[in-house]
Structure formats: structure tokens, C-alpha cells
């Protein structure tokens, strides 16, 4: 299913980020099945945007547990691009999974119009949309009887390009340790439609928005930078010596530091003898924890 015919490669893959996609699929598929089994669930639900991340997770979920046990929820807002919806629908068609279309416009508009927020910034609106989608997914988690599977990647998590309790809310995340470039590599290997892999990533919060224009970076460069900074522990000076622009290095390091809170469980004031996450440390999935 991999598209190899195009003279121009589908995406740019920095060599140090290349992964063995067979091993990755093997690990992720088993990870998904184990998460479900340990939680006492058999089904998954995810928000399908039409972008590459959620498309890849849908393919992985279908591979791991079968498309019939996957519900993809399409949750456009009235300004969402028509292409996003078409792409999401093509994923559903290819996989043959269950899907549902829920227009979140009335919910979002009711809040902003009703609370005098009609002049709300794009950021406020975008965050509210992300959290509305989260609320819908967790409601569908009950009606569908499935766990909410996360679709955020490592790049956006590290630079904080996520909405807390919005798009980053999930029961577990199978692709959260893959950079965008690796998401593309895996997506190509598993058969995500080429148009979805090729189009510029976008949060689709307003027409024409793209991640790379909004953040003024390119994913291959950002991914390489994060890889050397985080995974290979290179310092700012070393990164500059490697050829990364100093200003970019400084900016990315700032983004990583300022978004630390988004990647962690909120701290609890330590008062009692045993405190969750501090000195009360159990596996999330332990004997007796599964839904029965």
C-alpha cells in the first residue's frame, strides 16, 4: 500500500529519525491490545480530524484490534476546511470502521455568544474547540463502550502545541513518542492515503492555518533539533555547532521549558502520609483495576 511511485518523495525524513516501521507496528499493536485488556475494554474511540496523526492512530488501532471495534468521531467546526472532512471520510472508507459526525459549532458558538465572548481570540476559540471535542469523545467513550485513544505526537507535545485537557486528553497514546517525521514514515508504511501524508499539517482552527507557518518552523528541522536536544542530550552550543540556527535553538528550548506543565500530572500539595504520584506509586493497570 506504500506509495513509492512518485518521483518526489512523499515527505522528508531526516536519516537520524528513521525507524524500523515493522518493529514500531509490532510494539504499538501489542501496546494497544494490552492497554485494552488490562482496562477491561474491547473497543476504542478517537477523534478523526483528517490530519495525519489521527489517521495513523486509526490505522494502527484497526490493525491491532480490527476496524469493527473502532469508532472514529468527526467533529468539525463551521470554519473547519472541507478537505479535512473529505480526508477523514476517506480514512473511514478505507478502514471500514464505525464513524459518527458531530458538528461542534452549536456547542462552541452557544458558549461564546452566550457569555459575551463573541470577540474571543482565535486562541480561546481554538482551545475551547479542542476541549469540546474532548468532552464529546469521553461521552462517546460511554455510549460506544470504548477507551479514548490519544493521537498527539512527540513534536507537538515537546513544544507545547497542544491544548491541556483538550487534544492531549486520552486513556493512552500509541504515537506520543514519535516525532512528526516518524509519524509520516509510519503512516506511509501502514497505508495512510498519500494526500493525508502530503498536505501541510494544520490545527485547522481557521482557514489556511498551518502548523509550520504559525510557528515559523519546518517539521524536519524541528524534529531533528528536538531529537538532538532531548533524546541525544546536546546543549545549545553543541546544537549551534551542528548547524542549527542559534535563534531557533533558543526559541525551541524556551518552548520546551514553558510547556513542561502540559506533559505532567498536576502536583498535589503533600500533606498526608501517602500521596498519589509522590509516595503512593502503583501501576495504572494493576490487579482489580479492570472494568468488569
Amino acid at each position: 500500500m506504500t506509495s513509492e511511485s512518485a518521483a518526489e518523495p512523499l515527505f522528508e525524513l531526516p536519516s537520524e529519525l528513521a525507524i524500523d516501521t515493522d518493529v514500531a507496528r509490532r510494539v504499538i499493536d501489542e501496546f494497544i491490545r494490552t492497554q485494552l485488556r488490562q482496562a477491561g475494554f474491547e473497543r476504542l474511540v478517537l477523534g478523526l480530524s483528517g490530519g495525519i496523526d489521527s489517521a495513523l492512530v486509526a490505522f494502527l488501532a484497526a490493525e491491532a484490534i480490527g476496524a469493527d471495534r473502532l469508532l472514529c468521531v468527526l467533529m468539525p467546526y463551521r470554519t473547519s476546511s472541507a478537505a479535512s472532512r473529505t480526508d477523514a471520510e476517506s480514512v473511514v472508507a478505507v478502514l471500514g470502521c464505525e464513524s459518527e459526525l458531530i458538528d461542534i459549532s452549536p456547542m462552541v458558538d452557544a458558549y461564546f455568544d452566550g457569555s459575551g465572548g463573541s470577540d474571543a481570540s482565535a486562541l480561546r476559540r481554538g482551545n475551547f474547540m479542542a476541549r469540546t471535542r474532548m468532552a464529546v469523545l469521553y461521552d462517546r467513550s460511554v455510549t460506544w463502550g470504548g477507551l479514548v485513544v490519544g493521537t498527539g505526537n512527540k513534536t507537538e507535545s515537546l513544544i507545547g502545541y497542544t491544548t491541556v485537557y483538550g487534544d492531549n486528553a486520552c486513556a493512552f497514546n500509541p504515537i506520543g513518542d514519535l516525532y512528526k517525521s516518524q509519524v509520516r514514515q509510519l503512516a506511509a508504511a501502514i497505508g495512510v492515503p498519500a494526500e493525508i501524508i502530503r498536505k501541510p499539517p494544520s490545527a485547522d482552527l481557521w482557514p489556511g492555518q498551518t502548523d509550520e507557518a504559525e510557528g515559523s518552523f519546518s517539521y524536519p528541522v524541528l524534529d531533528r533539533l528536538l531529537h538532538w536536544l532531548i533524546d541525544r542530550r546536546r546543549g545549545a552550543d553543541e546544537l549551534a555547532e551542528m548547524g542549527f540556527e542559534r535563534a531557533v535553538v533558543d526559541r525551541v528550548m524556551r518552548l520546551v521549558a514553558t510547556s513542561e506543565f502540559k506533559r505532567q500530572v498536576p502536583p498535589i500539595a503533600k500533606l498526608g502520609p501517602r500521596t498519589a504520584g509522590v509516595d503512593y506509586l502503583y501501576p495504572r493497570r494493576r490487579p482489580g483495576s479492570a472494568r468488569t
Binding site: 524500523d20 518493529v23 510494539v27 501489542e30 502503583y282 501501576p283 495504572r284
Partner: protein, 316 residues
Amino acid sequence: MPPLRIALAQIAPRLGLFDENLARHRELIREAQGRGARLIVFPELGLTGYQLQDLAADVAIRLDDPRLASLATEAPDASVVVSFVEESDDHRLFIAAALVEGGAVRHVHRKLFLPTYGLFDERRFFAAGDALRSTESSLGVRVGLAVCEDFWHLPVPHLLALDGAQILVNVSSSPGRDLAATNEAGLGTASSWWTLMATYAQLTTSMVVFCNRVGVDESISFWGGSEVVDPAGRTVFRAPLFEEGLFTVDVNPADIRRERIGLPVLRDERPELLVRELERLVALRAELGENVRPPHEADAIAKTNGRPSRRARARG
């Protein structure tokens, strides 16, 4: 010496479910023995699962726990290596590997090196063992047990071989990571481990048996890839990655003798040199300074710089 059939139980233990894992052990011991295996090896914490955290105390057992002995009676004609959380009389919790045979626990190895870095946090929950001994076995050769991280420390295979072990058994719960496409098998962890196993086999001219688990605990996926390496460092058998299974492999224990006669590097080891130099280094690291220099060296220094050393003063 007749060929020795080894069974590698590359299983996916269920986290915190001792009795369920015990039943699975029993089942596989019966099956392995039915297939003629005389050495049956289970992975690190196969009876409990790995990522226990505060569950460790809940699943810990004493060495006289009848459930442990029950595994031995399951295999009257085989030697079985199993791993669990051991609680000592003074209530320390160890990651233990035991050799059970002839209806009893023959030998227990407590994990010596507890990784507490990166994704590991073992020292928080466990005590480290203090002894390293090889053991007699009904296999006709001495066996050396080690647990996972123990093999990231050179002295462990070295000491086991010096103590007479001819088969080194490492049981592991090694988390797979570093998925770079440039690595053998696409997994950095696998390449590192396989390199270690082959190297230890060669350096100690011993048979190396590595049993690593599969399955998932929380975020971590264990990669399997269990293997048997002959005393020349050749991989005799390698189990698939991430796949649960009971794998049997035949080895020839006579190869150990052949290798040690032909390549007598173990004979030529210098433990007395090691002890001397280690004593010096231990003292040096404790900042005991010049007192640890050999006397003739201290004298030489005293002569050349014209000032008597403290040792020379004390003597004078």
C-alpha cells in the same frame, strides 16, 4: 556428555497476578519437560511482572513458600530457573532468581545491580543482593545465575566463571527502546544485549543462556529475543522479537571443555592481580591517598623530592 536440551520460556507475565503466572509456569514446565528439556528458564520476575512499584510487597514470597517448591515438583527431571520477589526474614525485598530442581530450591541469586536511572526505578522498591556464587546443578555442570542489569557489569560473568560456572544464565525484563532503523533488528536494545551475550560467552568460554520476557507493562514493551550462545560466542538459537513462546534448543556441553582446552583464557585469568589492583582502587576512591601506594613507590617519592612522605616520617 549427551546433548542438553534447553527450554526458553519467553513469556508475557501478568502484572501483579502471582497465581495466574504460577499456573502458566506449571503448564510450561510440564510442556518443556514433555519435550525433553532438562534446563527450563523463565524471565526476570516471571512470576509477578516487572513494573510492580508499590505492588512489590504484595506479591513478595519467602523462600519456603510452598508455591515455589511446587514448581520444583512439577519437573522431577529438570532444572528450572524462575524469578520472583523474595522477602527476607528482615523484610527486605529482592529481585530473585532461583534454580529449583529435585523438588527443592537449590540456589537463589539476588539481583546485585538495580538500575535506577532512565526508565528504571528499581532501587526505590528493592534491596540489592550482596553475594555472587555459582551453583552445582543436576545438569552435571555448575551454573551461574544473574538477573538482567547484573550483566551490564563486567565482574558478574567474570566472577561466575571463575567460581566454576560453565553455563551462565541471565534472566531479564529488558524494555525495548531506541527504534532506530540503523540497528540490527531495528531495536537498539536488542543489538546491545546480543553483543554482550556473545562477548561474555567468548571471554568466559561459557555457554550463555539469556531469557528475556515479552509483553507490555504500562508504557514499556519487553522485546524478547532470548538466546543461547555457545562458548565460542556463536549464537546457537535466537527467539523472535516480541513473540511469546516456549523455545527448545539443543546444545552440546562437551563444547565447553573443547573451547576451554583450545582457548584457555579462563585458565589464564589473574584473580590475584585483580584483587591487588582492586584493593588499591577501592582505597584510592575512598581517598586514603598515599597510604595505598606500595612501600617502594613511597620511598622513591621521598628520595626524589627531598621531603619525606608521611609514611617515611612515621617510620623514621
